[in-house]
């Protein structure tokens, strides 16, 4: 394997994404968890840039930073702030071992599937995928699924408003 700038960037970004995920699991405070999640998601945006999917990367940042701030607000508002996290020395000692076993099995299965799946050997040329081509695909070729999705989202939005309104009235 040839070590290029791209592969170094990929390794750094993927380590950052995985590291963010691990910090998210091991952190004890809600805000720390949310911030590590943000770190992980932003690193994934970096991987999109490497794949020449600039639009996707930018949208990832745009959507997830908003989502992360909202999540952080709810994390702050809905959890107790001053209570120090008690060390839960759980009596269930076998849990770490069992979960390690489960995770290891899952990892083995996923890696097995990945290695058995035949990949088409030709490399896709991603440089030529422009924003214009994406727009044409979404608004010409796939316009009906796109519009249906937007209606679905609208219905969900209206439903959420109605649910919130009911609670406010009672």
């Amino acid at each position: 394997m040839v070590v290029t700038g791209e592969s170094i960037a990929f390794f750094v970004l993927s380590m950052m994404a995985i590291g963010g995920g691990m910090m998210m699991i091991s952190a004890t405070k809600v805000v720390h968890m949310v911030l590590s999640l943000a770190f992980s998601l932003l690193s994934i945006a970096g991987i999109y840039v490497l794949l020449h999917a600039e639009f996707l990367a930018v949208v990832q940042v745009l959507i997830y930073t908003g989502a992360i701030s909202i999540l952080m607000l709810f994390g702050i508002m809905l959890t107790k702030h001053h209570v120090t996290e008690e060390d839960d020395q759980s009596p269930r000692r076998w849990h770490p071992f069992l979960s390690f076993l489960g995770v290891g099995a899952l990892f083995a299965i996923i890696m097995g599937v990945i290695y058995q799946t035949p990949f088409a050997n030709n490399e896709e040329v991603t440089q030529s995928y422009s924003l214009e081509a994406l727009g044409k695909a979404v608004f010409k070729q796939y316009v009906i699924p796109f519009e249906l999705t937007s209606i679905l989202l609208l219905v969900a939005l209206v439903g959420a408003v109605i649910l919130a309104k009911k609670e406010a009235d009672s």
Partner: protein, 324 residues
């Protein structure tokens, strides 16, 4: 790789820092002038060195971290807030030759990256472990979410008539007519929403000093505080640049006066926007929090949507269509 790839950003940082020191002085002078005062006039001739002295003072101050604060996050928050402020400058084209990154989704990049700063503000407000700081941070997040939507909707009119998100192409498209004329509603919405994104008066609720002491940075001192302030003024630089590029034709000259070099035209329009920001600060009182949400959702958003419809319809009308 070019040598300029490495030197260019350093020069830009120098220019931005110079702009920030001068902008703070200029702001105080302009506000002083509008209020019938002199403004700073003690340090150096005409008070020129006032900001330099202020920055020096901030850097020499004791660095205090509150005992109850979340130490790592308290230290990280100013960095999270500042880095995006400088990163967005990469996509702004200053002249046909002076630009840093000519990427296809430049406009969206700016909007996306600039929203990361809110996470820094929120983290700083929470990590301070102070109720005023937390309230300021909460307000900042609410304001960012509410005003980002009209901001994005307002520029859709421009994007529709150019057919590109690339800022260079957007400037090229304004050779004959700047977008401030055909897209005037869009410009008005964009300008108001950008004031809110910049957290400047009349939208400075996240740091409203009369009600929240200083909002999200109440516990910050010394150079960490300086970083929050720096981020704010770098955003002034970036947002004035973006407004110039989107609506005032970037480096394009007025009335074909091409003997003035493009960079001078850019700086001139840019300074006009910066001056209006200071002008608004000197003349308008702070908006109330309930009015803030109403203005965002009930006035700016419908106006921005109406602008999109109007642009789409006018684009199809025979003679008028050439302007859209």
């Amino acid at each position: 790789m070019h040598a300029m790839t490495f030197i260019g950003p350093v020069i830009l940082l120098g220019v931005v820092l110079g702009f920030v020191t001068m902008a703070i002085l200029f702001e105080r002078k302009v506000i002083g002038w509008m209020q019938g005062r002199h403004g700073p006039n003690r340090v150096g001739p005409w008070g020129v060195l006032q900001s330099v002295a202020d920055v020096l003072k901030l850097l020499l101050k004791e660095d205090i971290i509150p005992h109850q604060a979340d130490r790592p996050l308290f230290k990280w928050a100013p960095i999270i807030a500042f880095v995006p402020a400088f990163a967005v400058l990469a996509v702004i084209p200053y002249t046909p030759t002076v630009y840093f990154a000519d990427i296809g989704v430049g406009l969206l990049y700016y909007i996306a990256i600039s929203s990361i700063t809110t996470i820094g503000v929120l983290a700083g407000g929470w990590a301070s472990n102070n109720k005023y700081a937390l309230l300021g941070a909460m307000r900042s997040a609410a304001q960012m979410i509410s005003y980002e939507i009209p901001l994005v909707m307002a520029v859709i009119g421009v994007i529709m008539s150019v057919g590109s998100l690339n800022l260079m192409t957007i400037v090229e498209a304004q050779k004959n007519l700047w977008f401030i004329l055909p897209q005037f509603i869009g410009f008005a919405v964009f300008f108001v929403a950008s004031l809110a994104e910049l957290n400047r008066t009349p939208f400075d609720l996240p740091e409203a000093e009369s009600e929240l002491v200083a909002g999200y940075h109440v516990e910050y001192t010394g150079f960490r505080f300086a970083f929050f302030m720096l981020a704010e003024y770098v955003y002034v630089f970036a947002m004035a640049g973006l407004t110039t590029v989107l609506y005032l034709g970037g480096w394009n000259p007025l009335f074909g006066m091409t003997f003035i070099p493009p960079i001078i035209w850019f700086v001139f329009k840019f300074s006009l926007i910066v001056f209006s920001l200071f002008w608004i600060r000197a003349t308008l009182p702070r908006i109330r929090i309930d009015q803030l949400m109403q203005l965002g959702w009930k006035v700016l958003l419908p106006l921005a949507l109406a602008n999109i419809f109007l642009s789409a319809i006018l684009k199809e009308i025979p003679w008028i269509g050439q302007f859209y």
